[in-house]
């Protein structure tokens, strides 16, 4: 029964239609808008669970496939499906969506229906990005996402929100148009827009390199990689809490997802010859951006830089495979790096989301994100600090939290590739601990020196529920990551084969 039910379409269109309903039904009634949004988000999440339970882990081929012609003249199809790489990301999206709606409950007072509607619509579009198997459909979702995000940051953001949101829009738009030209070129060569056909079509070296670079610009901006990362701290700092959560937890993952869905399988030879570029930029992100994070005085900015640094791990884990192959002659070690990168993406989705929500909790009370404005929060908000410290530890990569699993796997495999890669990557254990724990020390501990802190209230039930849910996710994934790895395993193997088979 499950195979015939269009579950992916439901996950895309239910929140979009729900979001439109919220826009109209909730126009003058915030209560209706809130409950309708929560209902839609919960329904979407519950409907997405069958993706996990009905998933066949023994095959790398696409599952839950839906395929209908969209523009027959051009062979554009409405073609959806998930494999082990995208399915966890779809679930992450639907899961985050519920938290996002809940996080805005009492906080947003201005035009609640537009805020909630925008986030629901975004949720549907993001599922679309991960589920699309037609490149044009993918691009449509990818670009459409910019519109609601542009409005959200610009309308409910901080003081420099207009600058931040235009920068965000133009950066990502600039990145992705080259990808579009690459798609059109490949369509012209292969006669199909299907991503799976792109993966099997032969391509010459020059074409591959140009396509690889086009993809690199698109995904490097999105993930983001050094040196095109500068939009992220601005966007994060100015965005409202939920906007930051969506940006960090899901939108950054689109860049990583792009690398595994497009760059590696479609242009394996170019990936092999240009892997040094990605590795170099990843290592710069891990070390240099980590150091930059150290000196931030704004908590959100600190977490934003830490996100960039962690995304460096993702790209590193994905691209060390060629060095491992060269050195050891087998792709066994590469499997570890690739799975580590994928786990890191999911785990960072939880952790960064949690960190931004925690900062949001503080910001709602004090209306400042300056580290220096806080001290001794633990005396007034013990429950909150318990969760926040847990998330901070996960951000550092403490064993037993999800942050450890991915980082450890990536560091292991980069040692196999090159001792220097491994050493530099491992530096993050020190730098990450430094910036995170230093922030923890300054914000949460110490004496209460400020009368605003004196008046802080601990978490209410809603906030407690959000924090607890995320804490459970972070710890569960840290202690027992196996179910996630099992889901990915076959698809990652298949990806490695694709990435190492020459297309010349």
């Amino acid at each position: 029964m499950l195979t015939s039910f269009p579950i992916l379409s439901t996950l895309i269109w239910l929140p979009i239609i729900g979001g439109l309903l919220v826009l109209f039904a909730g126009r003058n009634n915030d209560t209706v808008a809130k409950w309708l949004s929560l209902g839609t988000a919960l329904a979407t999440f519950i409907l997405s669970i069958p993706l996990w339970t009905g998933f066949d882990t023994t095959t790398a081929s696409m599952q839950f496939v839906e395929q209908v012609p969209w523009i027959p003249t051009f062979g554009v199809q409405y073609y959806l499906g998930v494999d082990g790489l995208s399915m966890p990301l779809v679930l992450l999206t639907t899961f985050t969506q519920v938290l996002v709606v809940a996080s805005a409950w009492e906080v947003i007072k201005d035009r609640v229906e537009q805020y909630m509607g925008a986030f629901l619509i975004m949720g549907g579009i993001m599922v679309g990005v991960f589920a699309a198997l037609d490149s044009i459909l993918f691009y449509v979702f990818w670009e459409t996402l910019l519109i609601p995000m542009y409005i959200v940051i610009g309308k409910w953001g901080g003081p420099r929100r207009v600058y931040a949101t235009i920068k965000f829009f133009l950066y990502t738009f600039f990145g992705s148009v080259f990808m579009l030209v690459a798609f059109l070129y490949m369509f012209y060569q292969s006669g199909s827009f299907s991503i799976l056909d792109f993966q099997t079509m032969p391509l010459g070296m020059i074409a591959q390199i140009l396509i690889f670079l086009a993809f690199l610009i698109a995904f490097a901006v999105k993930i983001p990689m050094f040196p095109v990362h500068t939009w992220l701290p601005d966007a994060h700092v100015e965005a409202p809490t939920a906007g930051s959560v969506v940006l960090a937890a899901i939108m950054l993952k689109m860049g990583g997802y792009g690398f595994v869905r497009f760059s590696l399988p479609i242009t394996p030879d170019a990936s092999m010859s240009l892997d040094w570029l990605v590795i170099l930029l990843s290592l710069i992100a891990i070390v240099y951006i980590g150091v930059v994070a150290l000196v931030q005085s704004d908590m959100k900015k600190l977490v934003a830089y830490s996100s960039i640094s962690h995304m460096g791990f993702v790209t590193l884990g994905m691209f060390v495979l060629y060095d491992i192959l060269e050195k050891t002659g087998s792709i066994q070690g590469a499997q570890l790096g690739m799975e580590g990168a994928m786990v890191q993406m999911i785990s960072h989705g939880f952790i960064s989301g949690a960190m931004f929500l925690a900062i949001g909790v503080l910001y709602d009370r004090m209306h400042t994100r300056e580290i220096s404005a806080y001290s001794g929060v633990v005396n007034k908000m013990p429950w909150f600090v318990m969760f926040a410290v847990l998330f901070a530890m996960a951000n550092v990569g403490l064993p037993g939290t999800s942050g450890f699993v991915g980082e450890f796997m990536v560091i292991m495999s980069s040692f196999k590739a090159n001792i220097w890669f491994g050493t530099l990557a491992a530096l993050t254990l020190i730098i990450g601990a430094a910036y995170t724990l230093w922030m923890v020390k300054r914000v949460f501990f110490g004496p209460v020196t400020n009368e605003n802190v004196e008046g802080l209230q601990d978490l209410n039930k809603r906030e407690f529920a959000i924090m607890a849910t995320l804490a459970v996710a972070v710890v569960a994934l840290g202690i027992y990551p196996n179910p996630l790895m099992e889901v990915m395993h076959t698809s990652v193997e298949n990806l490695l084969v694709q990435a190492t088979t020459s297309k010349l």
Binding site: R27, W70, I71, T73, K155, T165, F173, L184, F187
Partner: protein
């Protein structure tokens, strides 16, 4: 001397339109005192009648008549139908604008109808003379429409400017025509193509002719470096007239390009292709960069229109049937989007405030969220951002230049698209993020306008979600 009576059937829509327009012209002087809107309704009914006539006799064959000077094919029919649809919207919006700004008169609609007749003749022209006739019928009507508001200095200036530069462009075009006629000995397009292909015509004269023809076309379309009249004329004209001349004539202009370059001079593709590449590059660049500096929305849309022409020409310069189809699709979408964009300015303009400055749009979301959303759809569609139809228009022409081997041009085009996204975003920013100067709620001046603007914008969204049918229309007709 034997005189064969030509078949009138293929030109029936034009003849009916001419008869109706002439009738309304005369009748207007009698009924305008007693029934203020009689001319308006008669005009709209005429458009619908002609539309049904075309639909009823729709044919996919090419039919020639009047000694091969007039052609009826599916290309012509589809462009004419879209001209009519766009014109229905234009007249609907214009009436409210003219009433609001107190220069309502039947002449506007009569001139509009004659302009449409000119467009029809251009679309169906099969030789130089008929093409020129159509162009002049259309242009003369438009000169008069621009200057209709006699007491407005800017409108009269715009009218003069358009007239002088338009005459210059026509001169260029005629000069080119005469050279090509001199070289080929024929004025009929298919015959001309044969003579050129046979290689009997003098290459140098032909090359000169092509250059002048392309310059004339670029003038008429408003492509760089012959674009200077566009911002001034768009800005100076009453918005209802800007709405008219910024939309429907583009369809006829494209038809002119198609008939001349594709049907008459496919053999000279090397000559006109390189010219068009240069013009297209310049247009996209100027359209993207100069629009940033504008604080008047009409001027901004004029520059954005220059950029759109550059995009449209990319389909043309691919020089394939599919390329022209993509360009045709682009121009149809551009016309519809233009109706939505200028229509929004009309819908919000009150006597004494044209509502055409970007600052007027400040905080529109707080004053009227629905119209702000509609404007947002329109702007993002112009910027070529999915899921709106403008995205498909851009992607199709880019696809065609990639196919034609100009991938670098495609890369350049998308970069200009990113640059131009900035000024569309800036208007969205004004609407959504800025505080309104006057926080009173604002409504469209009449409910009809509210519906009209909303419908057009929603069409942009729906077509963007399900673009298949309209794309097929453009691709089947060439």
């Amino acid at each position: 001397m034997n005189f064969v009576i030509p078949s009138f059937a293929p030109a029936m829509p034009e003849m009916v339109l001419l008869a109706l327009a002439s009738f309304i012209l005369v009748a207007d002087t009698f009924w305008s005192k007693r029934y203020q809107f009689a001319t308006y309704y008669a005009t709209q009914i005429s458009l619908v009648v002609v539309g049904f006539l075309i639909l009823a006799s729709f044919t996919t064959e090419q039919v020639f008549t009047f000694n091969d000077s007039f052609v009826r094919d599916s290309f012509a029919d589809i462009l004419k139908l879209f001209t009519l649809i766009v014109s229905l919207g234009i007249f609907l919006f214009s009436r409210e604008y003219l009433l609001q700004h107190k220069f309502y008169s039947g002449e506007f609609f009569v001139l509009g109808l004659f302009g449409i007749l000119g467009m029809f003749v251009m679309i169906s022209a099969n030789n130089f003379i008929v093409l020129y006739m159509g162009l002049e019928i259309m242009s003369l009507a438009m000169y008069a429409m621009i200057a209709l508001r006699r007491n407005s200095g800017t409108a009269v200036e715009a009218g003069m400017k358009y007239f002088v530069l338009g005459a210059l462009a026509t001169g260029m075009l005629l000069y080119g025509f005469s050279m090509i006629y001199g070289a080929t000995g024929t004025i009929t397009f298919p015959e001309m193509a044969q003579v050129i292909n046979s290689g009997k015509a003098d290459g140098i004269v032909l090359a000169f002719g092509v250059v002048f023809v392309v310059i004339g076309l670029a003038f008429k379309l408003g492509a760089v470096p012959f674009h200077m009249w566009m911002p001034d004329v768009y800005h100076g004209s009453p918005t209802a007239v800007t709405l008219y001349l910024g939309t429907a004539p583009k369809l006829a202009g494209f038809a002119m390009v198609y008939r001349l370059l594709y049907e008459a001079m496919p053999g000279l593709v090397e000559d006109w292709q390189s010219l068009l590449i240069a013009i297209s590059i310049l247009s996209m660049g100027v359209g993207a960069i100069a629009a940033i500096a504008q604080d008047n929305l009409k001027r901004m849309l004029a520059y954005s229109g220059i950029g759109h022409v550059g995009f449209m020409l990319m389909g043309v310069l691919a020089a394939t049937a599919d390329g022209f189809s993509a360009a045709m699709f682009y121009v149809i979408i551009y016309a519809i989007t233009g109706v939505a964009g200028f229509g929004m300015i009309v819908a919000l303009s009150k006597a004494g405030n044209e509502f055409d400055r970007i600052v007027d749009f400040k905080g529109l979301n707080a004053r009227n969220p629905w119209l702000a959303l509609m404007m947002l759809i329109t702007l993002f569609s112009m910027a070529g951002i999915p899921p709106f139809i403008g995205f498909w228009a851009k992607i199709l022409v880019i696809e065609e230049v990639v196919k034609a081997g100009f991938t670098w041009l495609a890369v350049y085009a998308v970069i200009t698209a990113v640059i131009s996204a900035f000024y569309y975003l800036r208007v969205v920013k004004s609407m959504y993020f800025d505080k309104p100067e006057d926080s009173a709620p604002i409504e469209a001046i009449t409910p009809a306008l509210n519906w009209g603007v909303s419908l057009t914008a929603i069409v942009l969204l729906l077509l963007g979600l399900l673009p298949s049918t309209i794309i097929d229309l453009a691709y089947l007709s060439i």
